[in-house]
Amino acid sequence: MAASQSPVELVCPAGTPAALRAAIDAGADCVYLGFRDETNARNFPGLNFSREELAEGVAYAHARGGRVYVAINTFPRAGHPEIWHRAVDDAARLGVDAVILADLGLCDYAARKHPDLRLHLSVQASASSAEAIRFYHEAFGIRRAVLPRVLTVSEIAGLGAAVPVEMEVFVFGGLCVMAEGRCALSSYATGKSPNMNGACSPASHVRYIEKGDKVVSQLGGFTINTFGAGEPAGYPTLCKGRFEANGRLNYLFEEPTSLNTLSILPEMIAAGVRAFKIEGRQRGRAYVANVVRSFRQAVDAIARGETPPDMALEDITEGGRQTAGAYERSWR
């Protein structure tokens, strides 16, 4: 099921073994996942893989022609590099197809210790230029870069011509409006950051308060949003909150919305993108199966020279809204 003749690879999220199986069964070429600790940027409660679960997941995927990438994409805590080193060592030992890294020092470690291990550059490394990507390629032999969600499609096309590595882009799901890996908004409000703790706006600091018909969402004690009766809610990620600035109360950074690039997939392929990534390791397996199936159909349709079919994905998006985000210049 997973094997396809498509020019692009569908890289799909798995927060749990059940989600991994759902993704592979729904047509994922690859699944990316993380260990159940602070070494990955989705270090959410109850989520992620033990070493045994990873071994089983690799077996499940490989038996069906799929691949497994392990994200070790937080920045190792000074004084404790061994936790991150062990994650790289174990991923290599368990036969994963690539590790996804963000930290320079960890890239250096992986390249020296496991010269045969395929290295991908995480979006958290925020490599937004040909020079930055070439730097990682020349220094550590990075074979693929996951591009930050700050570039337009035409910038991606320019990049493709200038870098000697494969390009992977996000095509669906949660949308960082800040340059990934360089955002301390979460730690400013909660003390916990994506870079250090693997969680943005961690659930431990989230409160929903019912006030009559309204629900107020707070992060670290700061009110991030209020939703009226019947209004679709959002997760209290700082950059999707309502704030008052310049005398107006509105979504200063971004509305609660999800990235959806179904309509521009052909342009992405034309721009030289090699892999489409679906965000959502923290989402349930229903989400994974639904989105992966939709994108499988779309990618296969494009490979046959057809227009991708319309997909009804509004139900699973934040705020019921979708955007092509930074891929379109007008977003800026």
Partner: protein, 225 residues
């Protein structure tokens, strides 16, 4: 870990559904008579899904209230690794909980089986979360990751009773699916005539219908191959 006093302050309006009817029927039943059923459920979890409790091991002291808004009782989940408990009660009075999850039973079933996406349901305001969001998220992730099939689990709980029950579709999500298909008919037969011409109530009825439709659509999606 923080605890909160829990009251059923703002119950979610229950959707018009077979569960609601079943709930009305269950109202006179004292919770203690239902307790053995939930002891059985917990035994099945320990036997068939130990990974759920393992994923919750970081929250040994959590007390999670589960409030199926269309049933006349609530559940208390305590995922203590040594002795996990699922207790049925009339309500949360005199209780302290770390978090409470409220929603229609069909939704809670669908979430448990991973048929619906928890975030999506929450975004759409059909599910209400109070208290420690982290515990709820851990529970959601643990349950979703377990790959639960309620039919099979009910079979394990009910033993020899399960097969005949399953044949008539009275367990798991399919119970709801089947019965809700006939809901329009039942509703029309029961209340349709009486409400004719009353605009305000018609609007409420349309709302109910769309709620049932939403749930049904969600259930249908999972049926597709």
């Amino acid at each position: 870990m923080q605890y909160q006093r829990t009251e059923r302050s703002r119950p979610v309006d229950p959707p018009f559904s077979p569960v609601l009817l079943a709930g009305v029927a269950l109202t006179p039943v004292p919770p203690r008579l239902l307790q053995p059923l939930f002891d059985g459920v917990m035994a099945v979890v320990r036997r068939r899904h130990p990974d759920i409790l393992e994923r919750l091991s970081a929250y040994p002291d959590a007390v999670v209230g589960i409030d199926p808004v269309d049933l006349p009782f609530v559940l208390i989940l305590e995922p203590r690794p040594d002795r996990p408990r699922l207790t049925v009660r009339r309500d949360f009075s005199d209780m302290t909980t770390t978090a409470v999850v409220r929603g229609p039973l069909s939704l809670l079933f669908a979430l448990a089986e991973g048929r619906l996406d928890g975030d999506a349901v929450f975004f759409s305001r059909q599910l209400v979360i109070e208290g420690d969001t982290e515990v709820v998220l851990a529970l959601r992730n643990a349950v979703d990751g377990a790959g639960i099939d309620l039919d099979a689990d009910f079979a394990a709980t009910l033993g020899p009773l399960a097969r005949p029950l399953r044949r008539v579709g009275l367990v798991g999500g399919r119970l709801f699916d089947r019965l809700s298909r006939d809901m329009d008919l039942i509703r029309r037969a029961l209340v349709g005539q009486a409400l004719k011409g009353v605009d305000a109530q018609s609007a409420r009825l349309a709302e109910l219908e769309s709620e049932v439709a939403t749930l049904r659509r969600s259930l249908r999606q999972r049926e597709r191959p």
